[in-house]
């Protein structure tokens, strides 16, 4: 597919594109800014906001590392340190990692499946506002010294009514509600987009692997996030109205919290991991110039990982004294999940062997994965063994492990993918030179920070300690880790400078600067509001490579926001659907919902009174006729009014 269209009838197509541009345009002004429903706009907002939280979370980590650089330091007192590691973990997990993966999904999935819009765009807009408000709620509370301080996992009884004074634990629990609601609605939209909005002919086995990874992730979100919402609701109930879910004196159990939390918590890390695996397949395919080896195996790996991930949660509880027989099952499952992950790695190596590498920044990040994630995956195999876990559980060995898998397995591919999709989303190219510098700093800095932590764990340093005594052999390693942290900070700053520079002065990007094969590269950079005109029919995988002269769709209205709905498995034509127009109501509903959520940590009546504004918001949202005024009658209008 050539970078720029060479239409045989330029005038008609151009006229249509102009009309489409007006039909799909966002409303102007600040009202328009609050009413946006374009998935690319919302996707960019998600990504930007998530990265901002990443930077904030990283700052907290720098403070933690400064405190731990020397033994018995008093830079940061115990109370503040406990808040720091709680905020760091909560921010990274809930306000950065999941939202950024979802944000990329929102931005890229409709493009790569050839759709004009995302399903339920107003729901996605609502999801963004809930994410933003939840994050603000957490951070403003932190600034006001009522931020949580019991870890991102908030174990009871420490976070319960007896030992968790004030509102700190409630802030944490309700932040969960905000962010999980956001995640759930976005997951719903992504699933429906993938199932029903694919371009005609894009059967499921022709869909790009990144879309598959987002599909599996979204499915996992639907089942995992309710677990943490049940848990956090039960916690708020225990604290607010004296229920006894976790109170062993009245038949409750602190371990119930752990089961509920980790039933969510383990799939959560795979929710963060799987989209990055999709990114790996994407990057390796593009930067080796050949279709990825083992498409079916890769898809099956993603799906099976998604399922198996739900069977591992007890490996976070090996030290709690559960029966050995039960624990053995979780050891086996926790080890066996390495098989689909390994399968992906082997397929990627085969792909690299068969292709020609383009040595660009995104590929560097993809290659780094093999070094970094592999270490983390292997220490994960160690942790899966109960006997070994009993020694290294809750030590810095685990901190090393999960940073190696999360940063190696998710953040490196993410940074590569952001570099890769940056031209598509912004129309500018990032600087290669700054890209390589940032990558090098990150790779070295990361390993310097986290590799010593393995040794610290083996030497007995527990987690979540605000200081430690001298004489146990921990001093030098901690200092090294702090130095590495400084390099990581420099890497992130370099990346940010690259982004800012590119937005102002970067080369304008062509439609397909990397010569990639998937559909998002068949339209301009950045795409027009309506993504594609004409909509393309798909006849194979990687159709930009395999189908340079595709069949195009005609007959979609340019005066209304029409999208083409296709069938779930084979993407045969089904019907035309009108995509909702911009609306302020998702924003208003989000405000009302936030008031309900925040109020309900102070009084249960907030749920009752708060639901009235929420209902009003929803009514405005779904008010009929709020789609674009029909030029022609839509559907079969039965009658205008009854009686």
């Amino acid at each position: 597919m050539s970078a720029d269209p060479q239409p045989a009838q330029p005038t008609a197509l151009d006229r249509e594109r102009t009309e489409l541009g007006a039909t799909w345009a966002e409303t102007p002004g600040w009202m328009g800014w609050l009413s946006a429903v374009d998935h690319k706009t919302i996707g960019r907002r998600f990504i930007l906001t998530a990265i901002a939280f990443f930077a904030l979370g990283g700052l907290l980590a720098v403070l933690m590392r400064l405190q731990l650089a020397r033994p018995e330091q008093r830079l940061v007192d115990a109370d503040l340190y406990n808040q720091l590691f709680t905020m760091h973990g909560s921010t990274m997990m809930f306000l950065f990692a999941v939202p950024v993966m979802e944000g990329l999904g929102i931005a890229m999935v409709p493009l790569m499946v050839g759709a004009r819009a995302i399903a339920f765009p107003r729901l996605v807009a609502f999801g963004y506002w809930m994410f933003l408000f939840g994050g603000l709620f957490l951070w403003i509370s932190f600034a006001l010294n009522i931020g949580p301080d019991n870890g991102w996992f908030s174990y009871v009884p420490l976070a319960g009514p007896a030992y968790g004074a004030g509102k700190r634990a409630d802030v944490w629990a309700q932040m969960i509600t905000f962010t999980e609601l956001s995640g759930l609605v976005v997951a719903t939209s992504i699933i429906v987009t993938i199932f029903k909005y694919r371009a005609p002919g894009m059967s499921l086995d022709r869909m790009p692997i990144f879309a598959w990874s987002e599909l599996v992730t979204a499915g996992m979100i639907l089942i995992a996030m309710p677990a943490v919402m049940v848990a956090s609701t039960a916690l708020i109930l225990d604290r607010l109205i004296a229920t006894h879910f976790f109170n062993q004196a009245e038949g409750g159990d602190p371990l119930l919290w752990q089961h509920l939390f980790w039933f969510f918590g383990h799939p959560e890390v795979y929710i963060i991991f799987l989209p990055a695996q999709g990114m790996m397949s994407t990057l390796i395919q593009t930067f080796t110039g050949r279709p990825i080896y083992g498409y079916i195996a890769l898809v099956l790996s993603l799906v099976s990982t998604g399922f198996i991930a739900f069977g591992l949660w007890v490996h976070h509880m090996f030290a709690t004294g559960l029966p050995q027989v039960g624990e053995s099952f979780f050891t086996a499952a926790s080890m066996m999940i390495a098989i689909p992950s390994g399968l992906q790695i082997f397929c990627w190596i085969a792909s690299i062997w068969r292709g020609r590498i383009q040595w660009k920044t995104p590929m560097l990040y993809a290659l780094a994965y093999f070094f970094v994630f592999l270490v983390g995956g292997l220490t994960g195999v160690m942790l899966a063994a109960v006997s070994l876990d009993l020694q290294v559980h809750d030590t810095f060995f685990v901190v090393a492990h999960f940073h190696y898998v999360l940063i190696g397995g998710s953040i490196f591919p993410l940074f590569g993918a952001l570099h890769y999709w940056f031209p598509k989303l912004t129309g500018r190219m990032l600087s290669e030179r700054l890209g390589v510098i940032a990558f090098t700093l990150l790779f070295i800095g990361f390993n310097l920070t986290f590799f010593p932590m393995h040794q610290l764990g083996l030497l007995g340093m527990p987690r979540r300690v605000y200081t430690y005594p001298a004489g146990l052999g921990w001093e030098g390693l901690n200092l090294l880790a702090t130095a590495g942290g400084a390099l990581m900070a420099l890497a992130v700053i370099t990346y940010a400078i690259n982004v800012v520079w590119a937005l102002r002065r970067g080369t304008h990007a062509a439609a397909n600067p990397w010569n990639a094969g998937t559909l998002e590269w068949a339209t301009a950079s950045p795409p027009p509001a309506y993504n594609f005109h004409p909509v393309l029919v798909v006849r194979g995988r990687d159709s930009v490579w395999t189908d340079p002269d595709p069949i195009t769709v005609i007959g979609l209205s340019c005066a209304r926001r029409e999208v083409l709905i296709t069938r779930v498995v084979d993407a045969n034509l089904d019907h035309r659907f009108e995509s909702p127009t911009p609306s302020i109501w998702p924003f208003i509903t989000a405000i009302a919902t936030s008031i309900l959520f925040i109020g309900s940590i102070f009084t249960p009546w907030a749920v009752v009174w708060g639901s009235i504004p929420v209902a009003i918001g929803l009514i405005g949202w779904f008010w009929p006729g709020s789609k674009s005024a029909p030029q022609e009658p839509t559907g079969a209008v039965i009658r205008e009014r009854l009686a």
């Binding site: 719903t188 429906v192 677990a227 039960a234 004296a242 979609l556 009014r641």
Partner: protein, 200 residues
């Protein structure tokens, strides 16, 4: 980009019912979410049960009257629900709208019975963990009941106000699907709250 061949879609209808509709898939996702929630609450109930020798601990089991009455009423509500769903599928506005109205009235009666049910549980949410999980389970289902009644009322208002077009009919169909979920979810909840404590 001038393809030599084109695919004309102008003839396609602009609504789809059932699994042809994106709304159906959104509804299925929501059912998965809420179903997971119910499953986790049920698992919590059973977990707490496994921690004590006697169940219910220290209090009699909930009295059967209102819960069973609710069970019967909610199962019967499938009838007007199905009638409404089919009517809206074939775009029969009179029956769809009046069916929806009947479903709403029926559901309001269920809400009233549910209110009485809470009072007949023989335990309070702050008595012990058993009380807490029973109230959470029942409360979770009640939330679905109330929100379904509320959104059905809004839907009825929109339908009466007009235009009563294909999109509205799809909405009514999907609303009925959601109601089926509310009915189906009640069955295991009923069994856990009312039957399980009696069969030991």
């Amino acid at each position: 980009m001038n393809g030599s061949r084109t695919l004309d879609v102008a003839h396609l209808p602009d609504i789809g019912f059932g699994d042809r509709s994106p709304l159906r898939w959104g509804m299925l996702a929501m059912i998965a979410i809420e179903g997971a929630g119910f499953a986790l609450l049920a698992a919590t109930y059973l977990y707490l049960r496994s921690r004590v020798p006697h169940w219910p601990p220290g209090v009699p089991p909930p009295s059967l009257l209102y819960g069973t009455l609710n069970l019967g009423m909610i199962l019967l509500s499938a009838v007007p629900n199905e009638i409404t769903k089919r009517a809206s599928r074939r775009m029969d506005s009179a029956i769809a709208v009046s069916g929806l109205a009947i479903c709403i009235v029926w559901a309001l009666v269920l809400c009233a019975i549910r209110f009485l049910e809470f009072g007949a549980l023989n335990v309070n949410y702050d008595t012990n963990a058993y009380g807490s999980i029973v109230w959470f389970l029942l409360g979770y289902h009640t939330t679905h009941l109330i929100t379904d009644v509320a959104d059905s009322m809004v839907l009825l208002w929109f339908a009466l106000r007009g235009p009563l077009d294909g999109h509205r009919m799809v909405d009514i169909t999907e609303n009925a699907v959601y109601w089926y979920f509310v009915i189906a979810a009640w069955i295991p909840v009923y069994l856990l709250i009312y039957v399980a404590p009696r069969i030991v």
